[in-house]
Structure formats: C-alpha cells, structure tokens
C-alpha cells in the first residue's frame, strides 16, 4: 500500500490527481459514495413502509361476528 504524501501542498502534480480534496465534496455526492449509508436506507425504507406498515394492517383486521 502506498500512501502518497500530498497534504503538504508542494506536490508537483495538480491536486486533483490524487485523493486529496481540492474542494469540499457536495453532500449528495458524499451520500452516494457511502455504501453503508445506502445499505441502511435501502433496508429501512422498505422495512418500514412495506413490511411493518403492512403487517400492522393485517393485525388490525377485525374478527368476523
């Protein structure tokens, strides 16, 4: 593994060439670059809206007289 030492600033290459961040990364891009946040959202949303809400509906079906 190579750790390039470009935080010093006097690096010969243009700053965009490595993993240094020339500007702040926009929030949406940070979200899209974060697999585990996406995993969390992708499980929670259907679990809440589809599964849990659905099961609650079924539980509340009244008993026939």
């Amino acid at each position: 593994m190579v750790h390039s030492d470009d935080k010093t600033g006097n690096h010969p290459e243009p700053p965009t060439e490595d993993n240094s961040e020339p500007e702040r990364i926009p929030v949406m891009q940070q979200i899209l670059d974060n697999p585990f946040l996406l995993l969390f959202l992708g499980i929670t949303i259907p679990a809440v809206f589809y599964v849990i809400w659905g099961i609650m509906e079924i539980v509340h079906i009244p008993i026939a007289k």
């Binding site: 697999p35 996406l38 995993l39 959202l41 499980i43 949303i45 589809y50 079924i58």
Partner: protein, 565 residues
C-alpha cells in the same frame, strides 16, 4: 498474504484481474448457465403443455415441471449469474483483489447445494407447490431448506462484494468515486440484502412449520413477507441488468454516462423505493388498506419508475453520444444504424433494453395500478409481463454480457460466431412473443398455472373465447423460437469454454470482436460538453406516447367491469 495474490493484466482494458476473483466469476457463471439450460427446457415443456394442440405433459407433471421451471430460471440461473456480476463489478472494475475468496467459495457451495436439494425435492414429486410455496400448501422440508441454504450463500456473496469495496478503498486501487457500473451493482447488492433478509424471515418459520414445530402460519402475513422477498429479487435483476447495459455500452462504444449525477441519482431512487413495489402482488388481497396499496405499489409516487425512465434515456443516450463523437452524426439515427448489429453483445443488450422498456416496463406499471390489477391478477398477463422483464430483459442482457466475458475472463474465442450473431434475435423474438401472447391470453381472462383451459374435467365447464387458444398456440410457437435461441446460446457458450481457441495471455482482443475502435479511443468530455442526443429523445418520445396510450386504454377496460366497492 492475500495482497500478493496472483493477477494478470487484461490487455483490452488494462485492468488487473486477480486469479481468485476470476475463478469465482467463472464458476458462478458456468453453474448459472447449466441451470438456465435445465430450467429453459422445463419452460419449453410448460409452454408445449399449454399449447392445446400439443398438451405435452400430464397434469401432475405439468405442475411439477412448472415449479421446477420457476425455481431454476428465476432463482438459480439469475442469482448465480448475479454473483458473477457482483464479483466482476467489484474486483475487476476496481482493480482489486476479492475480499475473502475462501468464504466466497463457501457461499458458492451453499448455493449449489441448496439449488440441488430443492431440485431434488421438486423432482421427488411431493413439492409441486410452485416457487411461491404459499402456505398452507405444504412442500417437503428439504424444499424450503434448499432455498434457505441458497439464500445464505447468496448473502455471503453480497457481503463479499461490500468487503471488496472496502478493500479497494483502503488500498486505493481507484481514485474518487466507484465506477457507475459498480454503483449499479452496489444497488443490486443492497436490494439483494433486503430480499434475502425478508426471505429468511418468512422461509425459516415455514421450514419449521413443514417439520411440525410451528402449528400455523398466517397466509396473508406469508404473502406479504414472501413477496418482499419474491418481488425484490426481481428488482435485483433490474439493477443488475441495467448495470450491464451501461457496461456493454462502455466496452463496445467507450460510452460514458451523459451525466454521472443523473445516472447515479436514478440508481439511488432504486435503492430507496424500488422494493416497495412488492405490493404489486397484494393489490386484490383482503383487508389491506388502499393507502398502503397505493403508496407501495406506486413506489412512493412512482419515484422508482422515474429512475427506470431516466436509465431508458441515459443508456441509449450514452451510446448515441459516443457514436456521434466518432462522427456518426447524420440525421437522427445514423449512430444507431451504424452500430455493430452483428455483435451479439451489442444486439442482445439493445434488444434487452427495447423489450424490457416497451413490453416489460409499461405492462408492469399498468398492472401495478391498484384498480387495474383487478382485471389482470393471476391471469396469464402476469407471466406475460415478467417474461418481458426477466427473460427478454434480464436473461437477454446476461446472455449479451456473456459474449464479452468469454474472451475477457475465460480467455477463449467464441466458436460458431455465425450462430452467435443470430442468437439474440432469435431469443429476443421468442421471448418477446411469449410475453405478448401470454399477455394477450391474460386480457381474455386465461388463468396462469393452469393445466387445461378447455376445462374438460370440470363439473361446471366454462368456455374461453376461441382467441384464447389462438394465443396459447402463438405462445407455443414463440416458445419454440425462444428455446432454439436458448439452445444456441448454450451450445456457443459451452462449446467456446471447452473448444474455443485459447487467447494467449497478453494478446487478448478488445472483447467486442466487432472491429469497433477500442474503448479508450473516446476522449474525455464532461457533461457540459456532452453532445445532444436527439435520436434518443425521439425514441423516448415514442416510448412515452405508447406508455400513455396503453395506460389509459386499460383504465377504459377496467371501467367496463361490474361496479364494485
């Protein structure tokens, strides 16, 4: 240490291909294709039975074979292939070694054992319950056990994909964000994890119930959770085959997304909303409120449909942009006319795109309208719809990418290139045909999963209109074409793996084999300078008009049935 693992450099793409990832991709793809062959044959027998003039199988065998068909193609073929896609999109595209290859082999073994066990259960005859296995109809315990083992194996594959993303990031094998295709694969993996979790929630109790440890499983709860598994697994396919469309466009044309932001955002809409559509299956079930049904069946206001419609523009749009950069600039469609239609990877991909959008996409949205579902639920319209999505869409896309994988990963030349050239057309035509004709039969009310619509043995017979039999006959003929297309695919793939000329390491041709310029020839351009894509806009315009017309026609059909509340 694992980092010193062996790899080779792919001469076409310059990517590092690690031995362990390569072997896993090979193994998963090969097993997938074997199950496609078996399952496809079952599908052929089913179609021949539903063709009245032939009526091939006796009832008992029909239901057995239909169960096996659904399982082997929908579950085993597709998910094994998806494992190969996940490993490819992570290890190969990120230039990285695969996380814990040993564990990946364990997952592979579990999947294979599970698939075999479930197949044995079905073929033994006591488990003809259809792949949906609705309670309280009982299958043999090892039927459920096999599916559970298979799912655990697939879950391991998903985590290895995620693990590989982490390693690639830590070891800095790429710069910036992951490639779009890998992001699409990530979408598929996330949906897969939800899918498998819900599958475990419902199938483990069902397994215990089949053994007698649990006395009762509520059928409505079963259907609700089972479909979180059953329908979401189809959404894995969508995410996976759209990634493959982008992949093929990139390899053959050097295509670059029109805008990274838009394409990734469309995948994000999938991650957030696609899985809600499991509600499609419960629209005419008792007791669940219309609020739940409308919210979920519309993927929260059709936001996932928005995602699909975006991909429907950006995939062909990226091809058009790449072609126009190469100078195919005349008129609306020169870029498309001059595309390599003789290259099965391209023709398969493009047919998949068209058939999936026009047949599968539109019919799916229409059938998923809460009220319109009343005139379609459980008719043959349903299998008609999903043969457009999962056969003409997913399966054809997977076939197309296989034509790229053979030289790239297996390092073999294709045998019988002439056969390969016609294969996508044959299979696409056949699959399109079975979709259209089953949908046609469905609008006439013909039931799915039904051995004999002439109702010869019924006490109170009912006659379907003659057109229904015509539809089933045309469906049978299309099935012959699709089967032929499938057969050629199997022959070409298996033949190439066994007898194809080995491509000497270091001289691998660009995978397309079509004489197209190498991918990297296309220069860099940012979104701002991306060329306009008028041809693609015209295509999506036609799509949009078709969509609207078909949508409203079906409301009109609905308005003709009995008033009911």
């Amino acid at each position: 240490m694992a980092t010193n693992e062996q790899y080779r450099i792919c001469p076409a793409t310059g990517l590092r291909i690690y031995r362990s990832a390569e072997n896993l991709i090979k193994a998963n793809a090969v097993v997938a294709v074997v199950f496609l062959a078996v399952g496809g044959l079952f599908g052929f027998m089913v179609a021949m039975t539903r063709w009245k003039a032939i009526h091939l199988l006796p009832a008992k065998w029909f239901y057995l074979v239909l169960t096996a068909h659904g399982l082997d193609v929908l579950v085993v073929w597709i998910i094994f292939f998806e494992m190969a896609v996940l490993y490819f999109a992570s290890a190969v595209l990120l230039n990285c070694r695969l996380a814990t290859p040993k564990l990946a082999w364990t997952g592979f073994a579990l999947m294979l054992i599970g698939a075999v066990v479930t197949n044995i259960a079905v073929l033994q005859g006591g488990s003809s319950v259809m792949f949906t296995s609705y309670v309280p109809m009982r299958a043999a315990p090892h039927f459920y056990l096999g599916i559970i083992l298979f799912a655990v194996g697939a879950l391991i594959g998903c985590f290895i994909f995620l693990g590989t993303l982490i390693i690639a990031k830590q070891e800095r094998t790429y710069k910036g964000s992951i490639p779009l295709v890998t992001f699409g694969a990530l979408t598929a993996a996330i949906i897969a994890i939800f899918t498998i979790a819900t599958g475990a929630i419902i199938l483990i109790p069902t397994f215990l119930w089949s053994l007698g440890y649990i006395s009762h499983i509520d059928p409505l709860v079963y259907r609700t959770i089972w479909w979180a598994f059953g329908h979401s697994s189809q959404q894995i396919n969508v995410a996976a085959h759209i990634s493959i469309w982008y992949l093929i466009a990139a390899v053959i044309f050097g295509a670059k997304p029109l805008s990274e932001k838009v394409s990734r955002f469309a995948f994000l809409l999938y991650i957030l909303f696609l899985q809600l559509a499991s509600a499609h299956h419960l629209l005419v079930d008792p007791g669940i409120s219309s609020e739940w049904k409308i919210f979920n069946t519309s993927y929260a206001m059709y936001l996932a449909v928005l995602g699909s419609m975006i991909h429907g523009l950006t995939v062909p749009g990226s091809i058009e942009a790449a072609q126009r950069r190469k100078g195919y600039n005349n008129g609306l469609f020169e870029w498309l006319r001059k595309a390599p239609w003789g290259n099965p990877a391209f023709s398969g991909m493009f047919l998949s795109l068209i058939l999936f959008g026009f047949l599968g996409g539109i019919s799916g949205v229409v059938m998923g309208v809460e009220q319109i579902n009343l005139i379609m639920h459980n008719t043959l319209y349903v299998p008609g719809h999903f043969h457009a999505t999962v056969v003409a869409g997913t399966t054809l896309a997977f076939m197309a990418v296989t034509y790229l994988l053979i030289p790239l990963i297996f390092q073999r030349e294709l045998i019988l290139p002439g056969w390969a050239r016609v294969q996508p057309y044959l299979f696409g035509l056949g699959a399109g045909g079975i979709s259209v004709f089953m949908m046609g039969a469905g609008t006439l009310g013909v039931p799915r999963r039904h051995w004999d619509i002439s109702m010869a043995d019924a006490q109170l017979p009912y006659d379907f209109p003659g057109a229904a039999n015509l539809m089933m006959g045309l469906n049978g003929m299309s099935a012959v074409l699709a089967t032929l297309g499938g057969f050629i695919f199997i022959v070409v793939v298996v033949g190439s793996l066994l007898f194809g000329k080995r491509i000497a390491v270091g001289t691998t041709e660009a995978a397309s084999g079509s004489g197209q310029p190498a991918a990297s020839a296309v220069g860099r351009y940012g979104s701002a300078e991306a060329p306009a894509v008028p041809g693609t806009l015209a295509m999506v315009g036609v799509f949009f008009i078709t969509f609207i017309l078909y949508y409203f026609v079906n409301w009109k059909y609905l308005a003709e049935i009995w008033p009911l509340r």
